[in-house]
Symmetry: C2
Subunit: 207 residues, 2 copies
DNA sequence: AGACTAACGCAACTTTTGTTGTGTTAGATT
DNA sequence: AATCTAACACAACAAAAGTTGCGTTAGTCT
């Protein structure tokens, strides 16, 4: 076999990280985000990104494969930047701030279409799905601290599944956005957070 | 204006409901479901459905528009058939049965890909999104009775938002399926149901 | 029974999307 | 600074997706 990987098709050029390759990569990534913000996921095409970035379309096809590859790559970047974990002093306050962060992100005219595209792309390509999986694994990990603090305060029973609390706090928002088509308002975010908090307090999330 | 609707592009031919038109419609609908079950949403093409149904592709394009139109139409059918609302005697039992019903549906090799396609299609076309919206509005309506019974029993405070209880019970499953890529098992369904029940009991869902 | 016409089938065409072969460019290596 | 080669640009091509015009078929109406 003699395993050898002369190039990795998707994402950053590891073999030749400097100069032109990096410039092309950044141009394409920037164009991808811009196109997503303007036309949404459904309006994202390889040719559109190629034209906007000034990079030839064959180059984009070779390195990223298709439109979903572009999104998966953009998602990889997004997953590196952390988000502001709230610390309000109460679990309810923290979860509410978290839920509002999610809701506001999707409601934002600029950020919304991009975030939306990440989820939609995951439904289309395995690469995007894996990237999104890693993205959320990281977020759940980062968010766990709000539950740990609540345990330390004696607000919720020890052994409470932190990731599950966060899931229940944000899941109704995604459910409304991507399944039922009921765009969530602030009140919806607050209710979801309150429900997760109540469930955790009642000890329903101790496996 | 003189509003007149000579034909409705998507779905049942209302103008000429008998004979050939109906035969074509049923053949296409059947082929759509079969193709979805076999190849999933991503493998669904207009030409594939046309070939399988024996209907010419031009006809499919004209009546259904595109692949998402086919899914939207199939969804319209699915939303008419009711589902078995459980009655176990307790809110926790009812919600658990409901959540398991959802989970098992997606886990089923035949049913799963079709249900999955319904959600994915909603992310792609407005017609499918609206159809799915109606589908879930109906389901939430039908499911409300389990909460009403719990109120009557004195299990949860009066004024509890029934639809919201159901949303919280099933949302984590959809969240795992379509967002984080963590396929839910039975335990996940039970936890989600338990959390919704605990939140309702605590009075967190009384607006 | 005959006339009417919505809906369908068919073939040819256009557009969009994706691929392949080849020469060129510009970081990297010594 | 001379050499090497991964990565890119370009053009020409191939395949899939979608459209259009027109003749035909089969329910429907009188």
């Amino acid at each position: 076999m003699n395993a050898r990987e002369p190039r990795d098709a998707a994402g950053p050029g590891r073999v030749r990280p400097g100069g032109r390759t990096a410039r092309v990569r950044d141009a394409v990534r920037g164009a991808t985000l811009a196109e997503l913000a303007e036309h949404g996921y459904r309006g994202l095409t390889v040719e559109g990104v190629a034209a906007r970035s000034g990079v030839h379309k064959t180059t984009v096809y070779r390195r990223w494969g298709d439109a979903d590859g572009l999104v998966a790559d953009a998602l990889e970047i997004a997953s590196t930047e952390p988000w502001p974990i709230p610390d309000t002093g109460t679990l309810d306050g923290d979860l509410r701030a978290l839920a509002r962060l999610v809701r506001d992100g999707f409601a934002d005219p600029r950020e919304g279409p991009v975030s939306r595209a990440f989820v939609l792309a995951a439904g289309q390509s395995d690469a995007a799905a894996h990237a999104l999986h890693r993205f959320f694994a990281r977020r759940h990990e980062q968010s766990a601290v709000v539950v740990e603090r609540a345990v330390a305060r004696g607000d919720v029973p020890p052994g409470t599944d932190a990731a599950e609390v966060v899931r229940i706090a944000v899941a109704p928002l995604y459910y409304r956005l991507f399944v039922t088509g009921e765009p969530p308002d602030e009140a919806a975010a607050d209710r979801a957070a309150a429900a997760a908090c109540a469930a955790a307090r009642a000890g329903a999330l101790v496996p």
